[in-house]
Symmetry: C2
Subunit: 262 residues, 2 copies
């Protein structure tokens, strides 16, 4: 939606294309060099930030909808994306009047008022998805109704609209718990990577430290990674070896789980 005309059409006829009462909210975790951030957006004329989200088209699957919304925001495809919870308990979701006021602030940009009968004024449950991206790869495409974007550190999230703080909390718990069981987030590494790189990835996402030497032993023992003959040049220090994933073990671990057990 890039023009006033498109937004007006969405407000008045969106319910023909999208399912009402349901939205998707995306917690997009952005990892880069020892930092884990979340993409937030600020809708027009709002002071509070929100999670990026969208609606489910009537003719697409739920997974397609989530992928499309994620791709719209990041311009990236085939990202790691997982559903984690559906939110329908918060008072801010039940209070239609409050939700309508929030929408009216946003849509004031196109001079339209969401009345009680508008489909956007309905009570809406939200299906939460989380994604993992390298935030240095993301190119934000400005959206008509969004004033600002930012990457905020997971430990420094401000008070957000609706129940979005709770959504982030649940997403982070899910991500961390799943990362202990499955080889998640490996799409954040290049094809060939060094031990310090994958080590930093784990430490950052899980928010704790791992002994370098035990970490290496564990991944090798699980057969998840394979050491290559090549080394990487990294400035003034000893050159670390490059590793690659053993794709068979990797995919088996994704399906059946491979307990890291640190």
């Amino acid at each position: 939606m890039d023009t006033t005309h498109e937004v007006l059409d969405f407000v008045h006829n969106g319910h023909e294309r999208y399912l009402p009462h349901l939205s998707i909210d995306c917690v997009i975790f952005g990892y880069h060099q020892h930092q884990l951030k979340i993409l937030l957006i600020r809708y027009h004329a709002h002071s509070k930030w929100s999670l990026p989200g969208g609606f489910i088209a009537r003719d697409e699957t739920l997974t397609q909808a989530a992928s499309r919304i994620l791709a719209d925001k990041t311009q990236l495809h085939n990202l790691f994306l997982r559903q984690f919870h559906t939110f329908g308990d918060s008072p801010t979701r039940l209070n239609e009047l409050g939700a309508r006021q929030v929408h009216n602030t946003t849509y004031s940009k196109v001079g339209v008022t969401i009345d009680q009968n508008n489909w956007l004024a309905d009570r809406t449950l939200s299906i939460g998805y989380y994604a993992l991206v390298d935030y240095s790869d993301v190119i934000i495409k400005p959206e008509f109704l969004v004033d600002e974007y930012c990457w905020r550190d997971v430990n420094d999230i401000p008070s957000l609209l609706f129940d979005h703080n709770e959504i982030i909390e649940t997403a982070l718990l899910t991500l961390r718990s799943q990362m202990y069981q499955q080889p998640i987030g490996y799409n954040l590494l290049p094809e060939k990577f060094t031990l310090p790189e994958i080590h930093a990835l784990y430490e950052t996402i899980l928010g704790r430290q791992f002994d370098r030497r035990n970490f290496r032993k564990k991944l090798l023992a699980l057969g998840l990674i394979r050491q290559l003959a090549e080394q990487k040049k990294i400035g003034p220090h000893r050159s670390p070896f490059l590793y690659e994933f053993d794709s068979e073990t990797y995919h088996r671990a994704l399906e059946e789980g491979a307990v890291l057990g640190f």
Copy 2:
């Protein structure tokens, strides 16, 4: 809904009370004496069985809706109940014509046809919840539109309506994975229970064996259970001691997780 009149009102005016496009499906696991079963229902005039489910009232939270639906089916309250996934990918959910035919078979009982514009004919996503009950406690209340009920062993589930087989598969995976992390299912035991009782509970739900002696050591080491002075009389064999939960450790384990690690 017990009468034709109530059903007709539901078909024609249900969208005023309930959110369209969304349903809740409940996988009700029934445990009893070394058996784990799932409650299935057969809607009027159908050959295939389904999961029990329902809709979300406009003025209740998602959790309230799931609890209400579960209580309606089992006549039991305060059961262990958890959301596990929202389903919106299956072709049987996207194909509105197919879904409408299924509804028409059911509602033929009251001589009404669901037309294309009826709210029940809309595409519907389903939020999956699972519950754990002692099936010997359950008193099924007959419903007007349901011809038959049954408890089927988890290892012997027939082909069900829509994507309900997939929903059960996901529920079972979730239940088992969560049971390794948290003290789940303890509401299936009496206040004071014996080691063989809790041992059988774990073996049955997780579908594998645990060494009796190591199992006891583990639960005691975690501080989850406390041995009492009392013993239980069990016919012709040695009297087992009774145990109770340490409620502090128990609740901490529910929140923070306590890895069983067998």
